[in-house]
C-alpha cells in the first residue's frame, strides 16, 4: 500500500512540474486534494487493512496530504512570482528624455520686479499703496512744487484729458495723497510714514526701443522727525542689493527735481561689468537708475506736514528700466506688446 502513496506522490510532483499556470495548479489541487481527490481516495482502500496497518498507512497518507498541500502552495507562489517577473519584464523603458510639457502660465515681468521690490520694503515695514492713473494737475504738479512754467508741465510731455485732468507723468503724483492719508498717524501717534507706490505712468512722446509712452515707476517715501540723507542712501542701497541679490554699490550725484531738496541722481555700479566699464554703462562703470532726494519743504507743507518738525526722503524708481536691466530686455516696446512669444517666458521669480 505504501508503494501507492509513493507512486501518487511522484505522480503529483511530475504533474506539478509540468503545470505552467495557476489554473493548471488549481486543477491538480482538486484532482489530488479535493473531496474526491486521489489522495483522499487512498483512504477508501484502507478497509482491508489491519488496525496496525491502518494506523501506519493513515499516517503516511496524512503526511502525503500535508506535503501535497505544501507542494501545490509552493507551485502557486512560484507561478505568481513568475507572473510578476513577466509583468516587470514586459514593462517598456519610457522615454523620459522628451521635452517636459509645462503648460504653465506667466506673469508680466513688471509684476515680478514689482513684487521683488515690494517684498523688500514690506519686510522693512513699508505700506504698499495703489494709485489712480488719471490725476489732477494739483496732484501731479502743483502739490509737488512744480511751478506753472516748469518744462515738465509742457504739453509735449504730459497727456492731458478733455476735462483738465491728465494721465500721471510720474508716480510722485501720489505723494500728496499719501501724506494726507498718513499725516494724522504721524503727528498724533508718532507713526512714521513709510510707503511705496508702484504704478503706471505716461509721457506723451514717440516710442522707440528706449522710449515708451506707458511705463512703470515705483515711488517711495519715508517721513519722520529725523530722516536723513544717510538714511536715504541706506534704504536705496539695501533695496537694490536685495532686488539684485548681490551687494550693489550706489553713488549719489546732485540732481535737480522741484519736489526734493537736496535732489540726487542715484547711480548703481554697472550690473554687467561690476564697475570696470563696458558698453552697457558707456564705459563709466555706473548706471543711472533713479532720482531721489529729501522731500522739499513745500511738498511736505502741501501734504499737511510741518517741514520744521519733520523731514523725509523720496525716490522714484523706474520699474520698467529695472525689469529691462534684470531680464536683459533690449526693446522697451516688448513689454506692452502683448506678445506671448516674448512675455510667456516670465515665470515666478521670487
Amino acid at each position: 500500500m505504501s508503494e501507492k502513496v509513493t507512486a501518487l506522490r511522484d505522480e503529483l510532483v511530475s504533474k506539478l512540474n509540468a503545470a505552467t499556470d495557476a489554473a493548471a495548479v488549481d486543477a491538480l489541487r482538486v484532482e489530488y486534494l479535493g473531496k474526491n481527490g486521489s489522495i483522499t481516495g487512498l483512504l477508501k482502500g484502507m478497509k482491508d487493512l489491519s488496525i496496525e496497518e491502518k494506523k501506519d498507512f493513515g499516517q503516511k497518507v496524512n503526511v502525503l496530504k500535508e506535503e501535497a498541500g505544501k507542494l501545490i502552495a509552493d507551485k502557486f507562489e512560484e507561478i505568481k512570482n513568475a507572473e510578476i517577473i513577466a509583468e516587470i519584464n514586459s514593462m517598456p523603458e519610457f522615454d523620459i528624455s522628451t521635452p517636459a510639457n509645462l503648460n504653465r502660465g506667466s506673469y508680466h515681468p513688471i509684476t515680478l520686479v514689482q513684487r521683488q521690490c515690494e517684498k523688500v520694503f514690506k519686510s522693512m515695514g513699508f505700506h504698499v499703496e495703489d494709485y489712480s492713473e488719471v490725476v489732477t494737475d494739483y496732484e501731479c504738479f502743483e502739490a509737488l512744487n512744480i511751478p506753472k512754467h516748469h518744462p515738465a508741465r509742457d504739453m509735449q510731455d504730459t497727456y492731458y484729458l478733455e476735462n483738465g485732468q491728465l494721465l500721471k507723468s510720474h508716480t510722485s503724483a501720489a505723494q500728496n495723497a499719501i501724506y494726507k492719508k498718513y499725516k494724522d498717524a504721524l503727528i498724533n501717534e508718532g507713526k512714521p510714514i513709510k510707503a511705496i507706490f508702484p504704478g503706471r505712468c505716461f509721457r506723451n512722446e514717440a516710442t522707440d526701443a528706449c522710449h515708451e509712452n506707458t511705463f512703470f515707476q515705483m515711488e517711495g517715501v519715508m517721513v519722520d522727525k529725523n530722516i536723513s540723507i544717510s538714511n536715504l542712501i541706506f534704504f536705496m542701497k539695501t533695496m537694490l542689493s536685495e532686488v539684485f541679490q548681490k551687494d550693489i554699490k550706489v553713488r549719489l550725484r546732485p540732481g535737480f527735481f522741484p519736489f526734493v531738496e537736496p535732489g540726487f541722481e542715484l547711480d548703481i555700479s554697472c550690473l554687467i561689468c561690476g564697475g570696470d566699464g563696458c558698453p552697457s554703462c558707456k564705459h563709466s562703470g555706473w548706471l543711472e537708475l533713479c532720482p531721489c532726494g529729501m522731500i522739499h519743504p513745500e511738498v511736505l507743507k502741501a501734504g499737511g506736514i510741518d517741514p520744521e518738525e519733520y523731514t523725509g526722503f523720496a525716490f522714484g524708481l523706474g520699474l520698467t528700466r529695472l525689469a529691462m536691466m534684470k531680464y536683459g530686455v533690449k526693446d522697451i516696446r516688448d513689454l506692452n506688446s502683448g506678445s506671448l512669444k516674448a512675455l510667456a517666458q516670465f515665470t515666478d521669480d521670487e
Partner: protein, 786 residues
C-alpha cells in the same frame, strides 16, 4: 556745454592736483559730466613756428609751390606745399620731419618730382579751428622754431556738462561760475576777474535808453569806438572753438567769449541804429528779420529791443539783421541785460528758436552780472586793441531787483538733515568758498546768499544743506538705517487680493499676464470691427490713433489675442488694468480697476470654454471670498459681445462684471475656428465683498450616503433650487455628475451626499427627502430620468 580746463585754470591754481580727478569730483558734487573727455592737442607733436623764405612755382603743377622754410634751426628746408595762401615772409605752423599729426609721423616725402621735408599745416590740421582754406597765418611775433604748443594753448582738457543738469544753476553757464565750484571742491582760492573801473567814464554822455516794460529786469549799455582790429587773438579763438563756437570777428567773438566766461549774454549794435534804445513789447504781431536772415513772427508777448519804435533785436534771443555791426561801423553800443526768464522761455517756444543766449536767460540770470560783464568786456577789448575808446558813460537802468536772501539755521538742523557729523568749520569754509557770506554765533549760522544764487536757486534752509553736502561729498557719507518707532503694517486688502488673483490665474489655470495701453487703438479696433465707444479723450495725443480712453479692457485683449493666434491652439490671457467709465458728477474721470480674462481655444467647444471660464471665476471667488457667484442673463450692449450667453457676474447680490462669448463677426476675424470667451470684473467691488471665514465641520464617524438622480432638464438652476429648498440638514453637498442628451432631451445627473454627525442614516429618511425633491421637480415639468 563744453568746458575748458585751461580757461578754468585762469581763475584757480590747480598746481599739484589731478585735473581728471577734479573733473570726476565735479560730476559728483555739481553737475553731470559726460563720459568722454577730450584731450586737445594730444594728437599733434613737434609742430613749430616757421617762416616761408622763398616761394617758387612748381614747373608741372598750378597748385603746388616749392618753398624754402626757416624752422629756426639755421637751415632752409625744402617743402612742397599745395596751400593757396603761401607768400614770402609768412609765418605758419610747420611740421618738420619727425613731427606727428594724428597717426602720421612726418618723413621726407617725394611729391610731384620733388622731396618735401616737412609739411605746412592748416589750423584744422593742428585741431585749433575748422579752417582748412589754407595754411595757418601766424601774425604774432614769434621766433622761428617756437613750438606751437608753447606759443598757443593748443593743449587743453575739454569736458562736457549735460545742460539738463544745469537748469537750476544760472551761475554755472560760464567758466567763471564753474571755476568757483572747482575752487570749492579743490579747496583752492578763486581768483577775481580782471576788469576796468567803469566809473571813470561817468562824465561821458549817457546813452538814450529806457526800459518801458517790466519784463526787462535790467539794461546796461556802453558805447565804444575806434576799433581797429578785426581778428581775435589765437588763444581766444582756440578756446571758443574748443567750446563749440565758431570764430566770426573780434566783436562777435568777444561777446561770445564773455558769455562763455561769465554766463552773461551780450550784444553789440551799430550805434547809428540804436540812437533811442527802448525795451518794450508791441501791441500787434509783427515780422522781424533776425541776424541769421530769417523773418520771424513776433507776437504781442515778445519783448523787443527797439530804436524808438523800430525793433532792433528780440530781447534775450537774437539781434536783428539791420542793426548788426557792418564794415563801416565806427561806433558800437554794447548791451548787457537781464530779462524775465519765463517770458524768454515762452518766446523761445513760440518762435521755435532757441539760442545760446536764450538758453541762459531761461535760467534766471543774476541782474548783478550785467555791469561786471561790460567792465570785463572793455578790459579784454582794450587789452587786444589798445586804441579803443569808451565814448559814453555806463548807462544802467534797473527795473527789478531780487531781494537779498538771508538765511539762518543751526548745527542741529544740518545734523538732522544729513544724519552724519559735519563740523562747524567745514560748514563755514564750504559756504564761503561758494560765495556765501557766513556769520556764526555758537551753533547758529547767519548766511547771505550771493546774488548769482539768489534768483531762484537758493531760497530756503534746505537749499543750504545741498551746498554743504555736495561739496562734502556723498561718497564720504556714513550710511545708516533710520531709527524710527515700529508699528505693524497691515497690507491693503485690494492690493493683496490683486496679487492673489494673479497667482491663481498663473499657477492654477496657466494663464498669461499681459500689459496694455489705457486708450483705444483705432486701427486695431477697426480691423476687428470693434466700435470705438465714445469716452473722454486726450487733447494733445501726438498720435491721433490713441485719442480715446478705453471703457473696457475686453477690446484691448481681443486685439492682443488676435496678434497671438499662432502662439498656441489654446491659451488664455489676463490683465489687471484701468478703464475710465466716463465722468463722475464732479467732472472728474470715473476710473476703475478691472480684471479682464480672455480665453482662446481651438480644441474645446465654445460651451466647454465658457463653462471653464465660469469655473475660473468660481475658483477665484471661492479661494478669496469663500463664496459662490451667481449669474444673471443680460442684454448685449457692446459690439464685441455675443447676444447669447452674456451674463452679469454677481456676488452677494452685487454685480461685479460680465462673462460672455465674443460676437461671431469679431470672433471669426480673430480665428475662423476658435472659441473665444471673455470676462471682466471690477477689482475694487470684488475686494469690497465680505470674505467669509472658513467653517470647520467635523467629519462624521458614521457612514454617509450618496444618491445619484437624473432629471430631464435643459438647465440645472431649477434642480439646484429644488434641492436647496428641501432645506434638509442632512444634505452635505451636491455635485454635477453628468449631462447627456438622448431622445428625451438633455438630462442632468446629480449626486447628493447625505450625512449625519451622530448616527447612521436610514434609507427611509434619505429617500423621503429625495422623493420630495423629485416630486417637486416633476410638478414643474421636470421628470426624473429612469
Amino acid at each position: 556745454m563744453f568746458l575748458s580746463m585751461n580757461w578754468i585754470s585762469d581763475f584757480v591754481d590747480f598746481t599739484g592736483l589731478d585735473k581728471l580727478k577734479l573733473i570726476s569730483q565735479f560730476s559728483l558734487s555739481t553737475a553731470e559730466v559726460e563720459n568722454e573727455i577730450f584731450f586737445k592737442g594730444s594728437d599733434i607733436d613737434g609742430i613749430v613756428v616757421a617762416e616761408i623764405k622763398e616761394v617758387n612755382d612748381h614747373p608741372d603743377s598750378k597748385k603746388l609751390h616749392l618753398l624754402k622754410v626757416d624752422a629756426g634751426n639755421g637751415e632752409l628746408i625744402d617743402v612742397v606745399c599745395g596751400a593757396p595762401n603761401v607768400r614770402v615772409g609768412m609765418k605758419t605752423a610747420f611740421a618738420p620731419v619727425g613731427a606727428r599729426i594724428g597717426e602720421i609721423t612726418i618723413a621726407p616725402r617725394p611729391l610731384a618730382g620733388y622731396t618735401s621735408y616737412g609739411m605746412c599745416c592748416s589750423e584744422k590740421e593742428i585741431g585749433i579751428s575748422d579752417n582748412n582754406d589754407g595754411i595757418m597765418d601766424i601774425t604774432d611775433d614769434l621766433a622761428n622754431g617756437t613750438l606751437i604748443k608753447d606759443a598757443y594753448e593748443v593743449d587743453d582738457i575739454i569736458f562736457e556738462v549735460d545742460n539738463k543738469s544745469l537748469t537750476n544753476r544760472p551761475d554755472l553757464w560760464g567758466h567763471y561760475g564753474i571755476a568757483r565750484e572747482f575752487a570749492a571742491i579743490a579747496g583752492r582760492e578763486l581768483k577775481s576777474l580782471d576788469s576796468v573801473d567803469l566809473t571813470k567814464y561817468d562824465s561821458l554822455p549817457r546813452i538814450d535808453m529806457k526800459i518801458e516794460d517790466p519784463l526787462c529786469q535790467r539794461y546796461s549799455c556802453l558805447q565804444v569806438e575806434n576799433i581797429t582790429k578785426n581778428v581775435s587773438p589765437v588763444n581766444m579763438r582756440i578756446r571758443l572753438f574748443y567750446c563749440g563756437m565758431r570764430s566770426i570777428n573780434l566783436l562777435a567773438d568777444l561777446t561770445n567769449y564773455l558769455m562763455l566766461e561769465m554766463g552773461q549774454p551780450m550784444h553789440a549794435f551799430d550805434s547809428r541804429k540804436v540812437e533811442k534804445l527802448r525795451i518794450k513789447r508791441f501791441e500787434a504781431p509783427h515780422m522781424f528779420r533776425t541776424l541769421d536772415g530769417v523773418d520771424r513772427n513776433c507776437d504781442e508777448n515778445t519783448l523787443m529791443i527797439c530804436n524808438d519804435n523800430t525793433p532792433v533785436a528780440i530781447a534775450g534771443i537774437m539781434g536783428g539783421l539791420d542793426s548788426e555791426i557792418v564794415e563801416d561801423t565806427t561806433r558800437l553800443t554794447l548791451e548787457s541785460a537781464t530779462f524775465d526768464a519765463v517770458s524768454i522761455r515762452k518766446s523761445t517756444v513760440r518762435l521755435a528758436h532757441r539760442t545760446d543766449a536764450s538758453q541762459r536767460y531761461e535760467k534766471c540770470l543774476d541782474p548783478e552780472l550785467t555791469v561786471p560783464a561790460i567792465a570785463r568786456f572793455v578790459k579784454l577789448l582794450t587789452d587786444i586793441d589798445s586804441g579803443v575808446q569808451v565814448v559814453s558813460s555806463l548807462t544802467d537802468e534797473i527795473a527789478y531787483s531780487y531781494p537779498t536772501r538771508k538765511l539762518t539755521f543751526d548745527k542741529k538742523f544740518v545734523d538732522r538733515y544729513t544724519g552724519i557729523e559735519i563740523d562747524n568749520d567745514t560748514i563755514v569754509k564750504t559756504l564761503r568758498a561758494l560765495g556765501f557770506t557766513v556769520e556764526t554765533e555758537a551753533d547758529t549760522f547767519n548766511v547771505t546768499v550771493p546774488s548769482w544764487r539768489a534768483t531762484k536757486d537758493v531760497t530756503m534752509k534746505a537749499d543750504i544743506i545741498e551746498e554743504i553736502t555736495r561739496i562734502y561729498g556723498y561718497d564720504n557719507f556714513e550710511i545708516n538705517t533710520a531709527a524710527v518707532p515700529l508699528y505693524p503694517v497691515r497690507a491693503a486688502e485690494e492690493k493683496t487680493m490683486e496679487e492673489k488673483i494673479k497667482d491663481i490665474l498663473v499657477k492654477r489655470f496657466s494663464l498669461h499676464e499681459l500689459h496694455s495701453y489705457v486708450w483705444a487703438y483705432y486701427d486695431e479696433y477697426k480691423d476687428l470691427g470693434i466700435e470705438i465707444e465714445d469716452n473722454i479723450k486726450l487733447v494733445n495725443a501726438t498720435n491721433p490713433n490713441i485719442e480715446t480712453i478705453r471703457k473696457s479692457i475686453v477690446p484691448t485683449q481681443l486685439c492682443q489675442v488676435k496678434a497671438n493666434t499662432s502662439y498656441a491652439p489654446s491659451f488664455g490671457v489676463f490683465e489687471v488694468g484701468r478703464v475710465v467709465e466716463g465722468l463722475k458728477e464732479d467732472g472728474l474721470c470715473k476710473e476703475e480697476k478691472k480684471l479682464c480674462i480672455t480665453l482662446f481655444d481651438k480644441t474645446k467647444s465654445v460651451e466647454e470654454l465658457y463653462i471653464y471660464l465660469r469655473d475660473i471665476l468660481a475658483v477665484i471667488t471661492d479661494d478669496l471670498r469663500h463664496a459662490s457667484l451667481s449669474f444673471e442673463a443680460i442684454e448685449a450692449t457692446h459690439s464685441y459681445e455675443h447676444p447669447r450667453n452674456l451674463n452679469a457676474i454677481c456676488l452677494n447680490g452685487t454685480c461685479l462684471g460680465t462673462i460672455g462669448i465674443v460676437h461671431p463677426v469679431i470672433s471669426k476675424k480673430i480665428d475662423k475656428k476658435a472659441a473665444i470667451v471673455f470676462a471682466e470684473i471690477d477689482v475694487k467691488a470684488f475686494s469690497g465683498e465680505k470674505n467669509n471665514s472658513i467653517k470647520y465641520v467635523e467629519p462624521s464617524k458614521y457612514p454617509e450616503m450618496e444618491i445619484d438622480v437624473s432629471f430631464v432638464s435643459d438647465k440645472y438652476a431649477p434642480i439646484g433650487k429644488a434641492i436647496e429648498e428641501a432645506n434638509c440638514p442632512l444634505i452635505k453637498s451636491v455635485k454635477l455628475l453628468d449631462t447627456y442628451v438622448d431622445d428625451s432631451g438633455k438630462s442632468i445627473t446629480v449626486r447628493i451626499l447625505f450625512s449625519h454627525g451622530e448616527r447612521t442614516l436610514t434609507k427611509d429618511e434619505v429617500m423621503e427627502v429625495v422623493d420630495s425633491i423629485i416630486a417637486k421637480l416633476d410638478a414643474q415639468g421636470i421628470p426624473m430620468k429612469k
